[in-house]
Symmetry: C2
Subunit: 210 residues, 2 copies
């Protein structure tokens, strides 16, 4: 109707339109499979205008990865009084926002660093989540023998186990089955964090070697 480069759009609006189109394209096809001409077309922009905003495909990919990563981690928050439920939230997020989850996986395979959110002291887990684990440990809700980062990454592993399972046939639309998978992941987390008898005897950390 309007052709490419609708003139009423501001530079910022054009940039946003390109990012929206790029997020859909990269989530579906990854870095290598994404096509700049498809992104430009979906954003009703010329390729020239697109490259004026984003130097190359990888620059655009990094921008999308940062945005998706930030949204993914902002969507779940770990509350000290319900650590196992965090796993359920992650599970839900992988179903409600598969595009963020896919983007994180493409980024990992392409070796693209997910700079934000940066963790504290050189760790790569979100700092707020680590703080929440520590608070839960102080409150006696999570076994103090867990290293907070170790535990956090394992919780993500549980919440995303089905989403990562390599056979696409494992995907289901069955609400009952989905609820059962979710409940199992939350139950597993409950058992992991539970303060056991051993924790009370003053032993400090889990074994650090095999």
């Amino acid at each position: 109707l309007y052709g490419y480069d609708v003139p009423v759009r501001s530079t910022g609006e054009l940039r946003d339109a390109i990012l929206v189109a790029a997020r859909a394209e990269f989530a579906q096809y990854g870095l290598a499979g994404a096509r700049i001409d498809r992104i430009a077309k979906a954003a009703a922009a010329s390729k020239e205008r697109l490259y004026a905003h984003f130097r190359d495909k990888e620059t655009l990919f990094r921008e999308v990865l940062a945005a998706d990563g930030a949204e993914f981690f902002a969507a779940v928050s770990l509350r000290p009084d319900s650590v196992p439920e965090f796993v359920g939230d992650i599970f839900d997020l992988s179903l409600s926002h598969p595009e963020h989850f896919r983007m994180l996986n493409w980024g990992r395979l392409e070796g693209v660093s997910l700079y934000p959110p940066a963790g504290d002291d050189g760790r790569t887990a979100p700092a707020e989540a680590l703080d929440a684990v520590r608070a839960a440990q102080r409150d006696g809700l999570v076994d103090t023998r867990w290293d907070p980062e170790e535990l956090l990454i394992l919780l993500f592993g549980l919440g995303l186990a089905w989403a990562h399972w390599p056979d696409p046939r494992s995907v289901t639309e069955d609400a009952g089955q989905i609820a059962q998978r979710r409940a199992a992941a939350v139950e597993a987390a409950s058992r992991i964090v539970a303060v056991t008898d051993g924790a009370a005897d003053g032993s400090d950390r889990l074994a650090t070697s095999r």
Copy 2:
């Protein structure tokens, strides 16, 4: 030295050489990023000969995925008397054969079905592993309230949690840190499978809804 299509190779040898080259290429670059000309060159074959064996890039990708998936699953076996250690084996495998792990992830993102190994009764988990979980439950070593498939996928999720963690900066070469991550994953599995008091009271399965 010999140029392309070394004549002393049999058809089977050529096919194998192409597959070896394709496995390295796909693991690194994925389906979209892989280049058929690089594969042909690495196998010292012409593109024409390559296409005579494998119809197109996706056909070759499926072949590689099936081979890598079969090797990945064959490399770990779940023994009923050491279910938590299975998680350690998976963890080790992700480090010793990152190319298989990467291939499984590329395949999942590209939506390519990992046909073998096929599970029993329409399930997508390896049948032998499911049988081993059932045996462990019969022997009182794993809580009977776990659905065997649910549990198995969660165990894979634990073993691969670090390998899946989106930030590539989390990769480490530090042997002590690797050992600690492994021990934490195995400990988490121990806690999950542990037969708890509740299991003895005759209650059957875990809650199937939130």
